[in-house]
């Protein structure tokens, strides 16, 4: 049975879990119609029209699963991608480390957060999927797109949400059971074969992307050596925009 707490409005589903994870069950989902302080990576804001998109977070407390956080990050993107595929969306890709792209535009963003005191106490996976919103105001690092824009019709969010919850839980089980999802995930590598600007050792460097590696780091080369990226920004060189 899926455990979910739904809010009309909340500051951020990730922040709610960071405040309350001690009292909540493992694999509890928190969703909201609207977030007053939704955010992406490094405090970037994530704007969403009320009730138009799917905004939720899932709490992971089981230590065995938390230990696989690197896989869970990209596997979450893969789970979303599979559901979008079933809705008939094509040209899907995963932009390392875990954004979902459709037609080279961002349709879904994922932010993982964790709290560590004596150990990793919990892992929180926050997901924002553009569903029925068709106008995106403001400036975006990457052009957004929604399911409605791609499919030309309204999507029923409760059904979509259940399908995504089920898919995520199924893939989390696979991670725990050490099923090899790498070949499927690597097939959707959005950056592979592209020249990008990557932040390496505090500097921005133009590098060629060899692809997502088995340990889910990003393998790039500057022409001399191959580097394995595990953090930092990667932006498309062609457009010169950060992602």
């Amino acid at each position: 049975m899926i455990k979910e707490i739904h809010f009309q409005t909340i500051d951020s589903t990730n922040s709610y879990l960071k405040r309350n994870y001690r009292e909540l069950d493992d694999l509890c989902f928190i969703s909201a119609e609207q977030q007053s302080a939704g955010r992406g990576r490094q405090q970037r804001s994530w704007d969403s029209e009320s009730g138009q998109n799917l905004l939720f977070s899932v709490l992971i407390k089981e230590k065995e699963l938390i230990g696989h956080y690197e896989a869970l990050s990209i596997v979450s993107a893969y789970a979303i991608l599979k559901v979008l595929q079933r809705y008939g969306i094509d040209e899907l890709g995963i932009k390392w480390p875990n954004d979902v792209y459709a037609g080279h535009k961002k349709i879904c963003g994922i932010l993982l957060e964790s709290v560590s005191a004596d150990q990793f106490d919990c892992l929180i996976i926050g997901i924002g999927l553009n569903v029925n919103q068709i106008r995106f105001s403001g400036s975006y690092l990457t052009e957004p797109i929604s399911m409605k824009q791609l499919l030309g019709k309204d999507i029923k969010i409760p059904e979509l949400k259940n399908e995504i919850y089920e898919e995520l839980l199924a893939d989390f089980r696979k991670v725990k059971e050490k099923e090899d999802l790498y070949p499927q995930i690597a097939a959707y590598d959005e950056l592979k074969g592209k020249t990008v600007i990557a932040e390496i050792g505090g500097h921005q460097e133009k590098v060629y992307v060899k692809g997502i590696a088995r340990d889910y780091s990003l393998q790039v080369t500057d022409g001399n050596e191959t580097l394995s990226l595990r953090s930092g920004e990667v932006s498309f060189h062609e457009k010169g925009e950060k992602i």
Partner: protein
């Protein structure tokens, strides 16, 4: 269930004996899972639980901090890890700066 007569010290007792099936339990091997290491160890040093980039330091040298207070954030693979102090104490030294790349178990903050 069977009833037997048993003689103990010259006295006869009726004893009911129940047949119990022997069960064999398989003990599963517990697999060692790569879990992040404790954050605070080696005195009152606060250590990096994962390799990554320091994206926020939330304390200053000389500041008194409480157990459970978030002292820094490390990002790796788009995971923002809030590191809380396991101790009450006073910040003696901040061993990293914003943007530093750290390895697992690197010292982040030294407490008095």
């Amino acid at each position: 269930m069977k009833i037997y007569k048993v003689k103990v010290n010259g006295k006869v007792y009726e004893v009911e004996v129940e047949a119990v099936e022997e069960t064999t339990e398989t003990i599963k091997k517990t697999e060692t899972v790569k879990t992040p290491e404790p954050v605070s160890e080696g005195g009152n040093n606060i250590l990096a639980p994962i390799a990554g980039k320091v994206i926020d330091i939330r304390v200053k040298v000389g500041e008194t901090i409480r157990k459970g207070q978030t002292v820094a954030v490390i990002e790796a693979m788009k995971l923002e890890n809030e590191i809380q102090s396991a101790y009450d104490g006073k910040v003696k030294e901040i061993a990293v700066s914003n943007g530093s790349d750290v390895r697992n178990k690197d010292v982040l903050i030294v407490l008095e």
